[in-house]
C-alpha cells in the first residue's frame, strides 16, 4: 500500500535531502510543504500519514505545527528532523506528540531505523 509522506522544511535543499534519505523500495507518495501552514493543509487532505517536520521555519514553525496537529486531533505520525538539537527542543517536540526526533543532517540509515522501530516500514 502506498504511504502518503509529507516533507515539511523551508529549505528546498533540505526537502530534497530528506526525500533522498527515505529508504529504497518504500512505496510512498511524497508531498512537500515549505512551512507549518502548508503542512497542516496537506495533512487535512490526507497527504501526511507520515510527516517529516523541520522546526525552524517562517510563517509557522514546527512547534506550532505540532501543537495544531494535536489540538485539531489530526491523523499524522510526525518525525521531527531538525538542526535544533538542544535537549529542551527534543523534549518539547515529544511532549507535543512527535514520535521521534532526527538530528540534521539526515542520512538514510537514521530514517530507516526510526521507520522500522515504529513499525511504519
Amino acid at each position: 500500500m502506498t504511504t502518503p509522506v509529507l516533507i515539511c522544511d523551508d529549505s528546498n535543499f533540505a526537502r530534497k535531502q530528506m526525500a533522498r534519505s527515505l529508504p529504497d523500495g518504500w512505496d510512498v507518495d511524497i508531498t512537500f510543504a515549505c512551512n507549518g501552514e502548508e503542512a497542516l493543509q496537506a495533512i487535512k487532505e490526507g497527504k501526511g500519514e507520515v510527516v517529516f517536520l523541520d522546526l525552524t521555519m517562517p510563517v509557522m514553525d514546527g512547534f506550532e505545527t505540532l501543537a495544531n496537529i494535536k489540538s485539531q486531533d489530526l491523523n499524522a505520525m510526525v518525525i521531527v528532523v531538525s538542526g535544533d538539537i538542544q535537549p529542551e527542543a527534543r523534549q518539547r517536540v515529544k511532549s507535543l506528540g512527535a514520535i521521534d526526533f532526527i538530528k540534521k543532517p539526515i542520512n538514510k540509515n537514521k530514517a530507516e531505523l526510526i521507520l522500522k522501530e515504529f513499525g511504519i516500514l
Binding site: 529549505s11 533522498r20 538542544q86 529542551e88 527542543a89 540534521k104
Partner: protein
Amino acid sequence: MNPTLNVTITEDQRDCYQEISNVAMGQAADLLARLLDVHVILPIPVVNLLEVNELRMALSGIESTDSVSGVCQGFIGNGISGEALLIFNDASFGDISKLLKYGGELDNSLELELLMDVANILIGACLRGIAEQLDVVFSQGHPIVLGQHVNLAELINANNYRWTKTLAVEINYKIEGFDINCDLLLLFTEEAIEALNTKINFLLDD
C-alpha cells in the same frame, strides 16, 4: 586580488548555504545551552552576498545605536577563508555573568573574559559544523578583540577588511527568559566563494 572577480550565488546555492548554516548554528547553540543551562532561541540564518561596506546596514539582529562588544577570528582551509565575528549587545553581560556564575564585579576585564569564552564555544562549534558538512577542515587564528562598548559601525570598521565582496551569514542568538542577544557573523572572502560554490554544487547535485 583580481579586481574583476565577479562572484554570484544562485537561489539554490543561497538556500543550501542557509541550510548548512542552520545545522551548524544548531550544534553551536546546543553547546551554549548546555553550558548556560538555558534554551537558546534559534533564528533562521540570513545569507547575503554583499559589499563589506554594506555589512553594517545588512545586520538585522543588532541595532546600530546599541552599545556592543565583539571579537573576530580568522579561519582558513581547503581554499576557503574568512572571518567569524561574535558581537554582543552590552546589555547581555549581566545575565551571562550570572548564568556562568563567574562572580566578581562586572567590569571590562570580566566582560572580556565572558565574551572570549562564549566566542570560543560558538565560533568553534559553528565552524566545525560547516566544515563537516562541506567535508573540509578549517584552521582558526587567534581571536582578536574588535572593541568594547562601541557602536556597530565602530566595531565593524575596526576590522580592516582586505576584500570587498563577502558572503555573509548572520545568526542572531537570543536566550529564552534572559536579556541576552548576540550576533554570530561568518564572513567568507570573495576568493572563498568560488571554492564554496564548487563544494555546494556537489551537495546540490548529489
